[in-house]
Symmetry: none
Amino acid sequence: MHRFPEHLIQGYANFLAGRFAREQSRYSELAATGQSPTTMIIACCDSRAAPETIFDAGPGELFVLRNVANLVPTYQPDGGQHGTSAAIEFAVVSLEVSNIVVMGHGRCGGIHAALSPNAKPLDAGDFIGKWMSMLGPVSAQVGQNALMTPAERQTALERISIRNSIGNLRTFPYVAKLETEGKLALHGAWFDISTGELWVMNPDTGDFSRPDV
Amino acid sequence: MHRFPEHLIQGYANFLAGRFAREQSRYSELAATGQSPTTMIIACCDSRAAPETIFDAGPGELFVLRNVANLVPTYQPDGGQHGTSAAIEFAVVSLEVSNIVVMGHGRCGGIHAALSPNAKPLDAGDFIGKWMSMLGPVSAQVGQNALMTPAERQTALERISIRNSIGNLRTFPYVAKLETEGKLALHGAWFDISTGELWVMNPDTGDFSRPDV
Amino acid sequence: MHRFPEHLIQGYANFLAGRFAREQSRYSELAATGQSPTTMIIACCDSRAAPETIFDAGPGELFVLRNVANLVPTYQPDGGQHGTSAAIEFAVVSLEVSNIVVMGHGRCGGIHAALSPNAKPLDAGDFIGKWMSMLGPVSAQVGQNALMTPAERQTALERISIRNSIGNLRTFPYVAKLETEGKLALHGAWFDISTGELWVMNPDTGDFSRPDV
Amino acid sequence: MHRFPEHLIQGYANFLAGRFAREQSRYSELAATGQSPTTMIIACCDSRAAPETIFDAGPGELFVLRNVANLVPTYQPDGGQHGTSAAIEFAVVSLEVSNIVVMGHGRCGGIHAALSPNAKPLDAGDFIGKWMSMLGPVSAQVGQNALMTPAERQTALERISIRNSIGNLRTFPYVAKLETEGKLALHGAWFDISTGELWVMNPDTGDFSRPDV
């Protein structure tokens, strides 16, 4: 039998001696009363951009969906098994969160794949290709802009995709209704791995800028 | 215009002054060289069970997929947009991770929904119902076991579901091939929110027990 | 007779009592020996982005051309009176500068005009329209990108234009020759009026990033 | 890849720690509201005669065009790309400045070239030659005046050229109209690099004298 990864066992020992020892009563209370996070984060699987790390979040604070490139599909009640839609529904209808943050990040591998549809080892015929095809014509249009550098195209699509996902969130009837009623706010954020900077989207203009911290 | 949530801005300021300040060169290096995590974690969206927290993981260490109830579907190359499969493909084919850990946890809302298909506000006609139907006959069978208490049924299905997801992982041809070649190991883990205990699955028997730490 | 503007007289008095008093011998020496700046800056007329201010430059340090939107035309030895080309020729052939920096800036009115060709009071039939037509198809292509916000299009064109001007500098035979011989380096820079940040162009990739200061 | 000039990086660091630190809110306000300078300066590219330095001007104060020898051509709406005319148009029509100052200076290399049309390395066949030909018969006439010393001819042409440029400004219909209406004033100035003296033109007589400061 293979062993459970040693680095995880070691990390878990650190958790037990550190955060858990400090927050034991919080975990106990959260187990008894259930979770009631006020914020859902839709983030990427990338190992360098964990929401709990970037927002220094404690247990019970963030309900976190993570998929490749933090994409949200449109509302498609077609009977299919839509994992992202299920998580959104759970957060909004069951947990009644007040905020949804779509958080992208620099150097995103999924966005890179969308801009390089024929790159190996992943290509358009794979799951990644199909998944990123959600950005379809948008990524094609950005990818063909020869005036921008590859890095500029990458950043542009990362941000366009966040706005696109926020637009898709509004196709969910309960999201649209609650937003209109002022009970739910949709936010965009973009994390720069290199510099550690968080850029926040202006909901009126769609532009990203760094908040005062 | 609504403001970005204040608790996130405050948490980000803590991150900047704390972890980022200490690991700035690590972030910078990760941005320059790209990520190369050795482990993928498939976890739940639950706000009380963040993998980076439980495994005290630093930037670049864990590639993390999070969906409701940490489910893995079977391999279905039907052209659909399968977010979970895309993340698995990205981790295995592109990042070439050595380990995949399916991590469940106690008091999981998704598992609870699977065992209570007619509970409000979510029911079988919703995205959550469709998503959890992946456990189909399994959850029905557990749910009808009147000999176990509701809490026992819940824990049982949480663990059955982990083994089910690991089985489904093996339907992906590259996962099966790499596991056979000894290049990829599949693991199960279950986190008890109440006690902070991590339970690890014995890959031979499927049983869960607490590792020495 | 109208009077010379009072704010200029007052500013000149400050100069006399301040910088000139401190650097009198430098001015005297520069008058006797002539100027020998090593760097030419091609900047915009904008009142918020003076090169001497941003680079805290003293007398004799920077040879500065300023036109609307810091544009460089291609080499056109057609006998016309080309002011920008004359300044480049003077800097490279007569002064033998080692560096040319094309410095753009955020919120540039010329770039804005290029992206809004029918806005009043300036339109395409005016000198501004003709001047900015140097960016011709480039600005049209950026202007039609509906996926980016107006602010993103503005920043994108500001940076594309800098790369375009650097490309045009290379159409001057002596610039190309000296650059090849390693005697002249071409640089790009972009100043963010709002934050005071200077972004520097990577000459290999064309990307802009903030230097360590 | 070559590096951005170190003296500029150092100067920028001084700016950040000095003027920018003191005037951060001014920059921020200027970014938000746009520039609204009341004065345009038409100056030379010379590294020893920066308007912001000589007039100790802060951000947002001066809209500055700089070309070789601070020349203004006549109004030529011929569809050509006239950089100087575009800047004048932008200042007068869009920014609605109240003052335009044509500022020359002693020991001007462009004026020297106009008086030495066959000097190397620049000659009349070059861009500088074409550009300075704007002074055409005027510079020939001064150049042939054997009664004056070379230094006297140089200063004489520097001042004649300022008056010539002011005359050319009046060929722009909107400049003439606004001046007649008392909404725009045209000024001449000449800076003596050696002594730091500013000489101001009397608009009635065209003579230059030192103002009381």
